[in-house]
Amino acid sequence: MADLRINLAGIESPNPFWLASAPPTNSGHQVQRAFEAGWGGAVWKTLGEPIMNVTSRFAALHYGGQRVLGFNNIELITDRPLEENLKEMEETKRLYPKHTLIASLMVEHKREAWHEIVKQVEAIGVDGLELNFGCPHGMAERGMGSAVGQHPDLIRQQVEWVKEVAQTPVIVKLTPNITDIRFTARAASQGGADAISMINTINSLIGVDLDSWLPIPHVDGKGAHGGYCGPAVKPIALNMVAECARDPQVGIPISGIGGISTWQDAVEFLLMGASGVQVCTAAMHHGFRIVEDMIDGLNNYLDQRGIPSVMDIVGKAVHTYSDWGNLNLNYKIVARIHEETCINCNKCHIACEDTSHQCIDIVTDEMTGKERLVVREEDCVGCNLCSIVCPVEGTIEMVEIPTEQPPLTWNQRQAALAAGGSCEIKSE
C-alpha cells in the first residue's frame, strides 16, 4: 500500500483526490457523503454574497454515443446564507477532522470584504482558502471571478489583502480565459499565494437546439456563455498546469483541475507538476463512488512501480515539457503495422491517403488474394495519424529509426547558422 497522503503548500490530505468547488460541495450533507466515499478533501462551493440562480443551468456535450464528453454550466457561487454554510462546514470538519476542507471565497474588490470573510471561515477551522478568480459567468459581470482572474494586477492586490490576515495557506484559482496563464500565475505568486489551482471553466456554448434554434441551455428563450469542463478540457488544463510548473517565476505548488475522471488522469497531472487534483464533472456524471477506483488505481500504479509515496511522482515529467525550438529535428519514427492483429479496416490507409503523407499501401497478396497494409517507411513522416485512427490498440506501432545525424534542435540550428553555418545541417 503506497502512501497516498499529500502536502500541498502545507495543506495535508489523506489522498490527492479533492472535490472541486462546485455543485457537489454545496452542503454539509454532500461533503460528508463524499468523505464517507473516500474523497481526501473538498473545496466548499464558493462562499460570498449569496446569489440567485437560473434554470436551466447545465448542459453537456455528447459524442459518438458517449455521454458528457464536455459539460457546461451557468450556475453561480453559493445561493445559501454564509452563516448556514459556515455552520455546516464547522460540523463537517468536526465529524471528519482528518479530511481536508478548503473554503472557496469570492467577494467584491474591497480589502475589508476579503479580511472579513477570511476571518469568518478560518474561525470555523478550515484547512485552507481558495480564492475564486475563475468563474467566467455572472460573477465576472459584477467584477468578480474571472474578471479579476484576467488582470494580474487585481490578482496580486487581492491576494495581498488576503495574506494580510490569513492564517491558513492560500490557493489562487485561475481562469483559463486568458492568453497566457503564466502571467496570472506569476501575479498570484508575487502577491504571496501559497499555491495556485487550475483551471476554472472555459467560456463555452455547448450547442444550439436544431428545432427551437435556441442556445443550449436556454433560460426562457435566451442563453449565455457558460463554463466548460469535463474530459474535453483535460488537455487544456494539463498544458496550463505544465506551463506553470516549469515556470521558475511561478514557483509555487499547483492543485490540478480540469477533466480529471480517472486515476490515470490524476497521475498525468501529478507528473506534470500538480501536488493534488480536484474533480467535479466526473463526480457529477457518476456520483461520489468513482473515487474508489481513483484511489485503488493510483495505489496499484504506485505499488506496481515500487514507488512508496504519491508525492514522489509530483512534477517528475515537468522537465520533459519544453518549447518546440528545443525538439530534436533529427529524431525519426515510422509506423509499423502488426499484421497478426490488423483487422483490415483500412482506416489507417485512408487517413494517410486523404489527410497525411500517402505512405500506407493496400497490397494484395498474389498467392492468397488477401489484402494487407504496408507502410512505405521511406515516405512515412512519423505523424502518428495511422496509429491514432487504428481501432485495435497496439496494432500500429511507431518505432524509432536510428539516424546518422546527431541530435539537433531548431534553436541549435539557428544558432549554428548565425555563427556561420559550419555544422552539419539537415535540410528539411
Binding site: 459518438g64 454515443g65 483487422i343 483490415n344 479496416c345 483500412n346 482506416k347 490507409h349 485512408i350 493496400i362 481501432p391 485495435v392
Partner: protein, 455 residues
Amino acid sequence: MSVPLDETKTIDALQANFTEVVPSLKPKEAMDEANRCLFCYDAPCIKACPTSIDIPSFIKKIATGNLLGSAKTIMDANPVGASCARVCPTEELCEGACVLNHASKPIMIGLLQRHATDWAIKNQAALFQPGKSNGKRVAVVGGGPAGLSAARELARLGYAVTVYESKGKAGGLNTYGIVSFRLPQEISLWEVEQVKALGVEFRTNTTVGVDVQPEEILEQHDSILLAVGMGAVPQLGIEGEDLSGVLDAISLVEETKTKPLTGQMIGKKVVVIGAGNTAIDGATTSRRLGAEQVQILYRRTEKEMTCYQFEYEFAKQDGVEFRWLVAPTRILGENGRVTGLELIRMELGEPDGKGRRKPVQVPDSQFVIEVDFVVKAIGQTRHLPLIEAFGLQHQNGIVAIEEGTYRTSHPQVFAAGDVIFGGGKTDAMVVDAANHGVRAAHAIHTALSDLTQPV
C-alpha cells in the same frame, strides 16, 4: 423465441405465433451499435453484399440521427432492402465479412438496416423520384424481388414501366413465400408501394401466357424483363399424393400470409419432406399452426442439408424433429385423407456429380409412421411454358443470358432473378435477385440508349 405450443391453443392464440420473432433494435441499442461501427474504408461488408449497399455510410447516418439518409442509402442500392434486412443470411454475407469478427463481435448490420428502413416505413418517407420520361416503355414480367428492383430502377431512369404479376399483390416471395414471423407482409408491400409511387403500373392478377400473350407485350414495349421466379413444388411421384392432407410448403406459407389461420393442424402429426430453407419454413409454420409433432424427413444426413445453420437451429428451438436417411415411398390414407406414410431407410453411396454422396435405398427397410399431414418441400418447378412462349434458350428451365448483360436469346427480352439462377452456382437469395434486377435494369437502359449497337 417461439411461443409455447400446446393443444389448448385456440386459432386466435395461434396468431401470436406469426408475429415477427426477431425483435427490432430499441433506439438506444441501434445508436450504441451504430457507434460501434468502425466506418471502414473499402469495407469488406460492402463487398460481401450482393447489392453492394454502402453499409458503413448507412450505419454512420444512423449514428448521426440521419435516418432518412440512411434508409435512402440502403434502398438506393437494394430496392427490397427492408425485406433483406430480415431475410438475408447476414452471418454469411455482410456480418460474416465484418472486420470486427477478428476484434470483438461483428456489427448487427441486418438489424441496423431494419432499424433504418423501419423508420422510413413508419414515417412514410418518400425516398426516390421518378426520372424524366424518356418516352420508352419496358414490361417487367413478375413482380418479385428481381422484377420489383428492375422496375424501380427503370422508373428512376425515366422509363414507363408495366409490371405483370399473376398474383393479387406484387412482391413475390417476399409478399407470399416467407413466413410472417420472419417477414411480415406489410414490409414487402411497402417496398411495392415505393415502386408504385414512381409511377410504375402494376397489372396484378395477370398471368402472362394466359391473360395476356407474350407477343402482345413484345409489341407494346421496347424491352421486356422476364423475372418470373420459380413455380410450384414438384410432385413426389409416389402413391397417395392426391390425398387430402398432402400440402406443399410454399402454399402452406402463403395461406398463413393471405388467409385467416385455420385450426386444422392443432394437435396433429405433420411430416415435411426435404431439408432446405423452404422445408424449415414448412415445418416451423406447422408447429406454429399448432401441430403436436413435426418431423423433417431427409434422405441424406445433417451434413448435406441445404438450409442455413440459423434456420436449422431455429427449427430445433421450435420443437421440429429431424429424421435423417429416410425417403417416402407411399402416402397412406383412409376416406381420401392422409393417415400414414410409408418410409424406406437410406444410406449414403458414391458421391454424385456435385460431390454429394448419393442416397441409396436400404433393401426391405420399409416402415410406416402415422401422420395427418405431409408437407412437400423438395424444390420448385420452373416456368417452362412461359420461357418457351417467349422462345428463349434455356437449360432445364434456366434461361440462358449473355454474360453481364442479362440479355436472353431474344434481343428484346432480358431475364433476372430465379429464372436465371441455377446449376448450383449460388444460393437463390432475395438479395441476389434484387441485385440482378437492378443490374438488368441498367443493362436494358444501356441497350435502349444505344440502339445502334448490334444486338
